[in-house]
Symmetry: C2
Subunit: 384 residues, 2 copies
């Protein structure tokens, strides 16, 4: 039986998600927005019976068993942790910091019977599912290089807000880079152990953001990840990622894996491959083209991925009578909160590298940093 | 009046060059090959009256006024410097090291009346000539990012040789990266002041290179260059370059410049552009498709570039009655030996960065390093 759903957020993803959920038979019982007005507007549009700007009203709503959180990164941790504490299943977007991600991991570990997955949706895109399968079957031989490029128009909101602020989780690296980092670990089956990167904010002001306000989030980012080798002599896969959001009017989303005997390239939602020795590329998976509403603000790979994730969620819950129970099977490939922490750790290492100019190690947090750390240090210093 | 030409080399470039020279009306009087056999074979093929394996025989040949040097990098300096000393005009490929390049610069400075240009031929490709013109006219606004990728099959020769040896000037960075480094300084009008890079040799042995022999030259390289800013707040243009020569059956050559108001992309030999606000890309320059012989081993942009350079040489020499005189005009855009030294310096800085993991400064040599430097240091140490 399908669980009742509560949705957090009124942004472009939430707008796409609600109809997708409904199309799969989920009932959306409650909607939260930052303002009553925003919530009311979207609720009316999609016939959602209850809307609010107080998060507890959704979390405690008796018909809500699954909470989907698509809100600014800095608010995600608080809602996600609370939802798990109340006993609700959670699908959510990334948090703003590694510390927040770590708190989410702690909560998820504490409630293993609850569903807790990250809404990084590229893993579910059929092209990437097929790509991973082919990689595992040895289509490219030994993997050498992953080369990713994402080009598109500005990610900034119309008005000044979190998308402009690096510390609030804005910027290309945090927004688009996160899904790529997750995807590459899914495709290669390995994790980055060292990263190097360069971030730039080319457009610091525009027609809408001016005066004393400046954009601090990156609109261009280039980073490299050295993936943990599996003992191979070449020392694992090299990943290079280029993100450029100063390219209005285009959307390029290309993920290429080159190996010793061939290569695979996902362009947008389609998958191509070429084995060494063959004359040309073959189309391995075309886009079925049947993915719900077309949304201007949401790139097709993310739209299709989100749609596939909702389908997987439906299958997962359908398998059980009890509406809060779910089967791991069809959502087993989804990124866990642990994956979310890994991604956030890489993002922060790339940012560190951009400042230091050096390769930075990716060290996953294993315990929460002491909030009194600085205080303790000061006391320590006084003692000596 | 056109000068008589002597060609050094029997490799793929020399094979393409000879017919191009003849097509423009140059007479090739002499050919040098590493072995009598190689020289004889190519000379017969193209009806060159004289061939030899002794370099002086070409350099001192009385009908030779222009020497074209397309030989392994480690041999280039010696021939080029000698040719200038004998009073011949020189077109040549890159040397193997910055020290060699510096020696060539010294010779070129000493004989300013002689033509001395680098055979990095991408500058002459019509698509890049047009690109530079449009960049200067402000098509993309303020330049932000250059993004280059070159993908192709292995650069290794059939048998073990200099192409396998990093120290001999083999590898993707030295071979393909050099022309890109030169091109980007031509397009942006700036030079790299800091670089970061990573080189890999994924294929260290193959069916032909095995046993105790290993390839040391890179087959994968990506590097970033921060170009000298012209006082802009964003600190100049960021260039990212990806070279991958583990992709048999393909040849991708893409150079993109993104700016504040639009972008330009050269794909192969064609130029596309898109201004911000316009719906799609426009084709700005298509390939005329009229460039002499098709050669499997030589990528089209290089072939077309070489062809345009030979045309420019013809114009340059045609302007004068005396067959050793030339007009700067049509070859003014050609890379000088100074440009060659710059390129070599960047190549070596990228290699250093790949070892150190750090950003490396590009410092152009201003005097020849003392060959007794190490000895001096040792003496110094003994004294203390």
């Amino acid at each position: 039986m399908l669980p009742g759903v509560g949705v957090f957020g009124t942004g472009s993803t939430a707008r796409v998600l609600v109809p997708l959920l409904k199309a799969e038979g989920f009932e959306v019982h409650a909607l939260w927005g930052r303002s009553e007005e925003e919530a009311c507007c979207l609720a009316k549009e999609h016939g959602i019976p209850f809307h609010t700007s107080r998060s507890d009203d959704v979390l405690l709503h008796q018909d809500v068993d699954l909470v989907c959180i698509y809100i600014p990164p800095s608010m995600t941790r608080q809602i996600a942790v609370k939802a798990l504490g109340i006993g609700k299943n959670v699908v959510c977007e990334k948090a703003a910091t590694a510390v927040d991600s770590f708190k989410m991991v702690t909560a998820a570990r504490y409630y293993p019977q609850l569903l807790s997955i990250m809404g990084n949706t590229l893993r579910f895109l059929p092209a990437f599912v097929a790509m991973r399968q082919l990689l595992m079957e040895g289509y490219v031989g030994e993997m050498q290089v992953c080369d990713v490029r994402v080009y598109g128009p500005s990610l900034l909101d119309q008005s000044y807000g979190w998308t402009c602020e690096e510390l609030m989780g804005g910027g290309g690296l945090h927004t688009a880079g996160s899904s790529i980092i997750d995807l590459l670990s899914y495709l290669t089956g390995a994790r980055a152990h060292r990263v190097h990167g360069l971030l730039r904010t080319f457009v610091q002001q525009n027609g809408l953001i001016r005066g004393i306000r400046r954009v601090t989030s990156d609109d261009f980012c280039f980073f490299q990840m050295l993936m943990g080798g599996t003992g191979s002599s070449s020392g694992g896969v090299c990943c290079t990622v280029t993100l450029n959001f100063n390219m209005p009017g285009s959307f390029v989303h290309e993920v290429m894996v080159v190996g010793s005997t061939g290569r695979l390239v996902a362009r947008g939602t389609e998958l191509y491959g070429q084995r060494n020795g063959s004359k040309g590329e073959e189309l391995l998976l075309s886009d079925s083209g049947s993915a719900g509403p077309e949304v201007k603000e949401m790139p097709l790979p993310h739209l299709r991925g989100l749609s596939s994730m909702v389908k997987a969620l439906r299958q997962s819950f359908q398998a059980h009578e009890e509406r809060r129970s779910w089967a791991r099977g069809s959502v087993a490939m989804a990124p866990t909160f642990e994956d979310g922490l890994y991604v956030q750790t890489v993002v922060e290492a790339v940012k560190r590298s951009s400042c230091s100019g050096e390769w930075e190690c990716v060290e996953i947090m294993s315990q929460e940093p002491d909030p009194n750390h600085n205080l303790c240090e000061a006391l320590q210093r006084n003692k000596n």
